[in-house]
Amino acid sequence: METSRDDFVIAIRSAFLKKQNQQRFSLFGLIVFSLLILILGGFNFKPVNYLKLAIKEIAYRSTFIVSVPEKFLEEKYQTAQDHINLYNASMRNELELKDLRAKDLLNDFLVLENQRLKMIVEDYLVESDRLYAKVLSDKNSPFLKSVIINKGSKHGINLGAVVKDKEYLIGKIIEVNYTTSRVLLLSDINSKIPILIEPQGLLSILSGSGDKDGEIQYNKVENIIEETSIAYTSGVGNLFKAGIPVGKITKNDIRSLNAKVEFFSDFSQLKFVEVLFFERKISE
């Protein structure tokens, strides 16, 4: 018994404390160092933050280069998929286009009328600046749904800036570095945004599910949400400009109590995004 315990201690000591050939540090030393970085990072210790910034600048650029082969494969896969679905998609689009052309005529009038009314109640955010950024890396890890873009504080990006893919909201800036930034996607489990569900006019919170879609939370009158409903940003708290389309309601997951939102934008296909800044406009 005594001997086996001694063997265990010797093996552990040898595994963790002994430096092997060509090793500068022991495993134990590096574990202690990692713990130290982790703890100091938790307390926002400045040297650790500088280290983080330096690694970010190197890692984000390298990620872009390293992911080129995988992106190439991904593109080829998508092209093949598009070819397979081409005929059906074309027929569907033609029908949709006819419908949209009719709606568009009415839409212009409503937009102008809405802007005028909002300016009267001093609740109108206008776009003050806009930047286009390239997506360097899309890290859809199980732990974080985010993308890294090639614009940072050098280009005037601030925390909380709205990020769109064409006309659709995809997330907001949560981390700004000198030449890069991280966008937290709406599908991330930590993303919570105020939305307005139309045509019912319900205010609610949209949370990411950690998967491809989102979930509507804190909605007391869930039953009246229909599958044809659309989620827009509500503009509550001035986090986002009101009226940016987010996604459409689907209730296909019967296991979930909350209604699901299928985002308009496909987050796995992001190449270029728009970063927008808003300021409040008051009618004169």
Binding site: L27, L30, S34, I37, G41, E70, E175
Partner: protein, 168 residues
């Protein structure tokens, strides 16, 4: 000249695991674009465990530590977290290497499963308790499941690679 080329080839082959490690942390091989809802795995865990167990000189601890820092930055997890996990995995592999006389894939696999179960629990506890970070249980379980399953496949591939590089 021929001898020099051979030496260079040998040196390059030696660095392959390290290159693979840095590629895997900078660009997670997750095959997201296939659109599979429940599929993700941690290639770095498999790589680190295998090479720490079979060819400990291929991946230096310092490089593993640096790779962990890069992984944290890319994935957005607290800095130092992945390094800690990777080094613990190295510790388990080193301990196993020391106490094992006759190696078998099955025993290695069981040890790997136990190690990643403990590591992921540790990761979950630290991130939840100290960093106020939400993680989906299902995603983590799926990740553990496929990582443990794919260990068998990748270890066979690595075995083949190691054998063929030794033959040269």
């Amino acid at each position: 000249m021929k001898l020099k080329n051979k030496e260079l080839k040998k040196k390059l082959l030696r660095q392959v695991p390290l290159i693979l490690l840095f590629i895997s942390v900078l660009n997670n091989f997750d095959f997201n674009y296939l659109g599979l809802k429940y599929f993700s795995f941690n290639f770095s865990y498999i790589l680190i465990f295998y090479f720490s167990l079979k060819r400990s000189y291929s991946l230096g601890y310092t490089y593993i530590f640096i790779a962990g820092l890069f992984n944290d930055v890319v994935n957005g997890s607290p800095i130092g977290m992945s390094s800690l996990m990777y080094l613990f995995l190295c510790g388990v592999a080193a301990y196993l290497r020391l106490i094992t006389l006759r190696t078998s894939l099955f025993k290695d696999w069981i040890a790997f499963i136990s190690a990643i179960l403990i590591l992921n629990s540790l990761f979950f506890i630290i991130v939840n308790l100290f960093f106020d970070f939400e993680i989906s249980f299902i995603n983590q379980i799926v990740n553990i499941f496929f990582t443990s399953l794919l260990y068998l496949l990748f270890s066979s591939i690595f075995n083949f690679f190691v054998d063929s590089s030794n033959a040269r």
